[in-house]
């Protein structure tokens, strides 16, 4: 095959691959929306109804317990990990720590970032066992916070690094303390920071492996911080393999909700980044 034929062939191949990927992804989203949508159209109330007494077997009632569980676990977890991530990322900036230290910490963060979520679940589970407690909402929150922490720290660290250095200089030049300057830098990097938090939240909402062993997989409404609960992804996981069609239908419906939420979060994150950008030097054009 001559050079130009190879060239053309490769071009075709590349396009085909991209096409395949897009196609498959469209199928994934499409099937979810279609199947889930169908179930929800038939009975939209299941999203907000609590599960009935024979939920696991027959799918009586709805899956509101999972919706609530997700909100009650991922919400607080995001707050906790956001505070920690922002603090760590700030400390890694050059005015606080040396380059060597921040390189070392970044290495650990990379490793944590690549850790399989199930390991976080197992880790928190050992704590649960060690203190003799039950799996519950509380430990679900801890597990998700730990899971989100490296992800958010990475995003926020990137955002802070990309803030113009002159903002830091100008602020110091006005007689600000290190902390005051850190606040201003964070402000300048706000779009990136917010986007990072939202992405962390989205990852947390979609995770099942971490929560599987730590929050309890209950089929009742969550009724206390130290009571078992379940989340949407865990519900989907549990329900999808059921023999009962109604129960499986709930899995589709919950998938619909989950995908809409995750996609929505990503859109919101992009929009917010756009709105805040007007305050940032370089702003609107970014």
């Amino acid at each position: 095959m001559d050079r130009y034929a190879k060239q053309r062939a490769f071009g075709v191949l590349a396009r085909a691959a991209a096409g395949l990927v897009v196609f498959v992804m469209a199928v994934v989203i499409g099937v979810t929306i279609f199947r889930g949508g169908r179930v929800l159209l038939a009975d939209p109330s299941i999203v907000i109804s609590p599960p009935g007494s024979r939920y696991a077997l027959e799918g009586t009632g709805g899956f509101f317990h999972a919706v609530l569980g997700s909100a009650l676990i991922v919400g607080p977890a995001t707050v906790v990990s956001m505070v920690l991530a922002l603090s760590t990322a700030t400390y890694l900036q050059s005015d606080y720590s040396s380059e060597r230290f921040s390189d070392a910490v970044n290495m650990f963060l990379n490793v944590l970032w690549a850790t399989p979520p199930i390991v976080y679940g197992v880790f928190v589970l050992t704590i649960v066992i060690a203190v003799g407690a039950r799996t519950s909402l509380f430990f679900g929150i801890i597990a998700i916070s730990v899971f989100q922490y490296p992800i958010m720290t990475r995003y926020i660290d990137e955002a802070l690094r990309s803030a113009p250095d002159t903002v830091r200089e100008s602020t110091y030049g006005l007689g600000a303390t290190r902390f005051e300057t850190a606040k201003m830098t964070a402000r300048a990097a706000l779009p990136g920071i917010v986007a990072g938090i939202i992405m962390g939240f989205a990852r947390g909402i979609g995770d099942a492996a971490t929560v599987l062993f730590t929050a309890g997989r209950s089929t009742n409404m969550p009724n206390g911080l130290f009571e078992p609960a379940t989340t949407l992804p865990v519900l989907i996981f549990d329900n999808s393999m059921s023999f009962n069609e109604e129960v499986r239908a709930h899995a589709y419906a919950a998938s619909f909700v989950l995908i809409v939420v995750v996609l929505g979060l990503i859109v919101v994150s992009r929009l917010l980044a756009g709105r805040f950008a007007q305050y940032v030097p370089g702003g609107r054009h970014a």
Binding site: F10, V21, Y96, L109, A114, P116, T126, G206, P233
Partner: protein, 306 residues
């Protein structure tokens, strides 16, 4: 000229400065502390198992029966490796080609659309992939693919899991590879094309070399992802702790071992220990891969410098 500000205000600011530094310093060490804590906990809690049974024996035994205190991890290990290798074989070429498409061929709106699409997909929860697979892939494999090869499989099994994991991990690898490619300066392309190379030749000889470290690490990270994947295998692998004898056979991976077999048996200390040991194994392998990727990336970067 104003002499000095109100000193109480200054004192307050300085106090805030000191306190905040303390907090931030703690936060800076938190990542390291977390890592150490996880390692320590996992190792410590694996000890009961390790002190009673020989590691080598457990890793090579195929007899898995926790209720009989028999902890043979080999089937799960084989299953994990099988799935990981298979998915990477399927996913990497496609991911690489797509990344090249996005970085080098696509333009304007198509490019933004496709790459945003991919970025979004990298964030889709794996449960959803699992569910769709149950609906689409399992029947496909069970009713069409398997009979075509003469197998009487159900559609759950190694091949299905590998296929779906390839799909799950591809967007992630694409994003990272695109980043590596786009980080390359245009001059590289211009230079190569300027001596009369075709686009394909440019990509093959120049760009892939230059972006090599980044792409390679994307692949390694993808491998790590597949290795540690829990949800998709748990839904699709069939849950038989046996060494799979064919692509269509069911099997087990290390993470699914934790999910499926441990629920009721968690109250028994030795079984707990075994579960935690599986977690430890997983984490050690994935972390080794990561360290390896970091080291290799540094070395390759030096070799393939541009």
């Amino acid at each position: 000229m104003v002499e000095s500000t109100d000193t109480s205000g200054l004192r307050r600011r300085l106090r805030i400065e000191r306190l905040s530094e303390l907090w931030l310093r703690l936060a800076g060490y938190f990542a390291i502390a977390l890592f150490v804590l996880i390692v320590f906990t996992l190792v410590h809690r694996s000890l009961p198992l390790l002190s009673e049974y020989s590691v080598v024996q457990m890793l090579t035994s195929t007899d898995w029966d926790p209720s009989q205190n028999s902890f043979g991890f080999l089937p799960a290990i084989v299953g994990t490796v099988y799935v990981a290798v298979l998915s990477m074989l399927m996913g990497t070429p496609i991911a690489l080609l797509t990344a090249i498409y996005i970085a080098e061929y696509a333009e304007g709106r198509t490019k933004t659309l496709v790459s945003s699409f991919i970025d979004v997909l990298a964030a889709i929860p794996s449960v959803i992939f699992g569910l769709v697979a149950l609906v689409v892939v399992v029947p496909l494999v069970g009713n069409y693919l398997a009979p075509a090869v003469g197998s009487s499989a159900t559609g759950l099994g190694i091949l299905t899991v590998s296929l779906v994991m390839a799909i799950v991990v591809t967007p992630f690898m694409i994003s990272l590879s695109v980043e590596s490619l786009e980080a390359l300066p245009d001059e590289l392309r211009e230079t190569s094309l300027g001596v009369g190379a075709t686009k394909w030749e440019t990509i093959r000889s120049v760009l892939l070399r230059a972006a090599g470290p980044g792409i390679f690490s994307a692949v390694l990270l993808g491998f790590g992802r597949v290795f540690g994947a829990t949800i998709v295998p748990a839904m699709l692998i069939g849950g038989q702790t046996q060494i799979p004898d064919s692509l269509f056979a069911t099997g087990q991976t290390l993470p699914t071992l934790i999910v499926s077999d441990f629920g009721e048996l968690m109250s028994i200390p030795i079984t707990q220990s075994a579960l935690i040991f599986v977690g430890l194994m997983l984490v050690v392998v994935v972390w080794l891969f990561n360290f390896g990727a970091m080291v290799l990336q540094r070395r390759l970067r030096r070799r393939w410098q541009y």
